[in-house]
């Protein structure tokens, strides 16, 4: 289902006309971005005590506000944006369970290239999952999720972009209950953004 949604949105974005006369996206202070991303969570068992191979599809709608005009004159020229993201994960292994979280998110976008814009992002916030309690690593359903990653946006028009990227995902409860080994995973993702 998630794959179908992403394919449909991808096709819709690709069918949008490209404005050849104004090829550079004009993203300034106050420009907002809404995006929809999807990916697949792949587990990392970092210690011998980590035994769970949690994995499943992830779905992440987000909103961002651009906080600065482009700064810098070199390859690192870029701008800062802040926003929030919902994350929904359907764990398909080891049990069919669910997780949902809300994370403030900060992003630095490199704008030295006109249409291809790499970015780095960091997000963290509360995360609820019913996977906890059924696995040895986590005991509490109320957790926190921390993600850090990078990606690249390709602007199809001055307002629409396709995104692909990678995130490292960490879920734990900040020591509020034990055991609290934490769940770590990689999350390759793809999606699209609309700027207004």
């Amino acid at each position: 289902m998630l794959v179908y949604i992403l394919l449909i949105t991808l096709m819709a974005a690709l069918s949008s006309p490209v404005h050849a006369a104004d090829p550079t996206p004009q993203i300034t202070v106050g420009t907002q971005e809404v995006s929809l991303s999807g990916g697949y969570l792949l587990p990392h068992r970092l210690t011998r005590d980590h035994t769970t191979k949690q994995q499943g599809a992830a779905f992440m709608p987000s909103w961002m506000m651009t906080l600065s005009d482009p700064i810098g004159d070199s390859w690192y020229r870029g701008q800062v944006s802040l926003g929030a993201e919902m994350v929904y994960i359907q764990f398909q292994e080891p049990f069919l369970t669910h997780g949902v979280g809300f994370t403030p998110k900060i992003k630095y976008t490199f704008v030295a290239q006109d249409r291809i814009r790499p970015y780095a992002e960091f997000a963290g916030g509360p995360f609820w999952t019913d996977l906890a309690g059924k696995i040895p690593e986590e005991s509490s359903r109320f957790n926190f999720v921390l993600t850090a990653g990078f990606g690249v946006s390709y602007f199809l028009t001055d307002q629409a972009a396709l995104n692909v990227g990678y995130r490292f995902h960490h879920i734990s409860n900040a020591g509020t209950r034990y055991p609290n080994l934490g769940l770590n995973a990689s999350l390759p993702f793809g999606g699209f953004s609309f700027f207004f």
Binding site: T28, V29, G30, T31, M65, T66, L67, S68, D69, I71, Q79, V80, L82, A84, F102, P104, K105, I106, Y108, G125, P126, S140, F142, T176, R177
Partner: protein
Amino acid sequence: MGQFFSRLLIGSMLATTVGLGTGCSHWIELAALTDAAPPTSATVATDARVPLLLETIRVTHNGSSIAPPTILERQVLGAIEATRLFSQHYQSGYSQPALDQARVTVRLSIDNLVEPHAGQAAWRGFVVGASMFALAPFISLNYDYSTQMALELERWDGQIKRYTATSNGSAHYNLFGASPDVIEQLKGQVTEACLSSLLNQVIHDSTFYLANSAQPQDHPIRTVTVGVRRPASHAIPVSRPLADSSPW
């Protein structure tokens, strides 16, 4: 402990809701006046006015030259036109006044300085995010804009006068009040204030730009009052006239 975090989460969500409801605000401040001349007006004979040719507008943005935006060219020409000091208004590249016709040629240089406070925005954004947006209404973000204009007016006989003006201002906004419109308003108000200051100086020298420099006295046939259009905002630029390069 879990209950504590649940309550913390609910509290944060409530604060976020209140924040979203009250945080959509912004305001703009322009620099206070230190020594600007008071607004001037004069009465001149209609027939003594000559055409004006806007020859060049040179614009720099944080020291880098950029192509002057069309809207800026219109704003400049509109502000000059609103003074009613000149009989007709031409722009280089379009229709021109006749070669043998007396005219005033205008060259304008605009140096814009932008300070978006990106580092401050990143840090404050991080704090706002870490508070789950509860602090969004209480933490303001800043954007400074300054413009310095140098206006050169050359009379038909080659005599030149130069004027300068500086204006600056800041936009302050909360996260949910940020908008490109806020920044455009700030730039528009600063530019308008600076233009008004420049043109006010030109009006002081209005007789210099008339074909017949004699002021209408007892029996003027047709006259017009010339002056600077008042900016809509409370913009108060700081201006400083340069020493004249002409012998006048």
